[in-house]
């Protein structure tokens, strides 16, 4: 009797998952982008830490670092990183609503309402920080 490729019981066919599985379905692609977003956020954080370090080295070093960040390549990176950070945040808040069960008395608050609350809080805090920066300068 012929054995199907792959391992396991003879006669059974064991399908193999191609490495391009995440291109098969829009939902898989969105998942992969969510995972990839963390790479961009990690790179941004490293850049930010370097920036803080340059600040500690004095005004000249900091100014030179800022000048470097003004290059088209770094601006492009930050635009892409911002887009990924926003996407990551949106998916995070949506998933939080699924994971965190909020109860009022014996009733569970609908996940959509939990998501709306987290999005609301996120918007208010972001606007607050933006206003604080604008009013300071």
């Amino acid at each position: 009797m012929m054995t199907a490729p792959g391992s396991g019981r003879p006669g059974l066919y064991y399908p193999k998952m191609p490495s391009t599985w995440w291109l098969r379905h829009p939902a898989y692609f969105r998942f992969m982008m969510r995972e990839v977003s963390s790479v961009f956020i990690a790179i941004f954080l490293v850049v930010f830490l370097v920036q803080v370090h340059q600040l500690s080295r004095g005004p000249d070093a900091y100014a030179a670092f800022l000048e470097m960040l003004r290059s088209p390549g770094w601006i492009a990176f930050h635009v892409v990183a911002l887009a990924f950070a926003l996407y990551h945040s949106v998916t995070w808040f949506n998933l939080t609503a699924v994971v965190q069960v909020v109860r009022v008395g014996e009733r569970q608050v609908p996940p959509r309402l939990v998501a709306a609350a987290t999005f609301g809080l996120w918007t208010v805090l972001s606007l607050g920080i933006l206003l604080w920066f604008l009013l300071r300068s």
Binding site: A4, G11, Y14, M17, W21, H25, L95, E106
Partner: protein, 248 residues
């Protein structure tokens, strides 16, 4: 006027003869009220009696007729031809499972995983029959009811890339079922079950793709069950470290 038809591209695999599955096209009459399963039954009755697939109730309850319809796991008794016009419609065995023959997949591994999570009510000491049934309030029922609607159709395994990439993964339905019993007010097997689903091949394999929930024909949310079990597992671990006797 000639009769309207639609083409089905069906996966065929004959164990012992074929090295790998191949595709065979069948043209069947198009009927507005036909589902993919009706088309398969038509092929088996009128065209090729050797076509093999599972089905039973034809009403979305038995969970036997799950297949990939145009690449998406579906109950074929609920997948209307009219939603896939003009075709062709690709019908394949459920993804991420070994194929026995044609559209029939092997369930042994899934059944073993289901058994492993102990999907029954566990009591430390059984109450004597004379003391009557275990009572439950409507709110206590509501807490787990959604997760008890699973019909073991395995669509969630076919939708889960983690199940495809690491076949040892306990998988969405088994974990959702474990979670269902963990939430049951009559149950006392939480720690026993939790220790099984928080093993390396359990909840921590899940990367929260969320497609298990998206394809579930019964509105169960296995993705939520898995993530909540992760939270519970993490909480248990912290308590076991911080509290004497593991906080039990």
């Amino acid at each position: 006027m000639s009769e309207e038809t639609i083409t089905l591209e069906v996966t065929r695999y004959r164990p012992g003869h074929d090295r790998e599955p191949r595709t065979q096209s069948f043209t069947v009459p198009y009927r507005k009220d036909w589902v993919v399963l009706d088309a398969l039954n038509h092929i088996k009755d009128r065209v090729d009696g050797t076509l093999s697939y599972r089905w039973s109730c034809r009403m979305g309850v038995c969970g036997s007729c799950g297949m990939m319809v145009n690449g998406v796991p579906k109950l074929t008794c609920a997948a209307f031809l009219r939603d896939h016009r003009p075709g062709p419609i690709r019908v394949e065995p459920l993804a991420n499972f070994p194929v026995v023959r044609d559209l029939v997949i092997d369930l042994d591994d899934f059944m073993e995983k289901l058994r492993r999570v102990k999907p029954w009510i566990i009591r430390k000491v059984e109450k004597p029959l004379a003391e009557g049934e275990y009572l439950q309030t409507p709110a206590q029922l509501e807490a787990y009811k959604q997760f008890s609607m699973c019909i073991n159709c395995m669509l969630c395994y076919a939708a889960c890339p983690v199940s495809g990439l690491s076949p040892a993964f306990l998988g969405p339905a088994a974990i959702a079922l474990a979670y269902r019993y963990n939430l049951d007010s009559r149950d006392e097997g939480y720690h026993l079950r939790q220790s099984i689903i928080t093993e390396a091949v359990g909840v921590w394999e899940c990367t929260f793709v969320g497609e298990c929930t998206a394809v579930c024909p019964k509105g169960v949310d296995p993705a939520a069950a898995i993530q909540r079990s992760k939270v519970a597992g993490a909480k248990d671990w912290f308590l076991s470290v911080l509290l004497p006797r593991g906080g039990r």
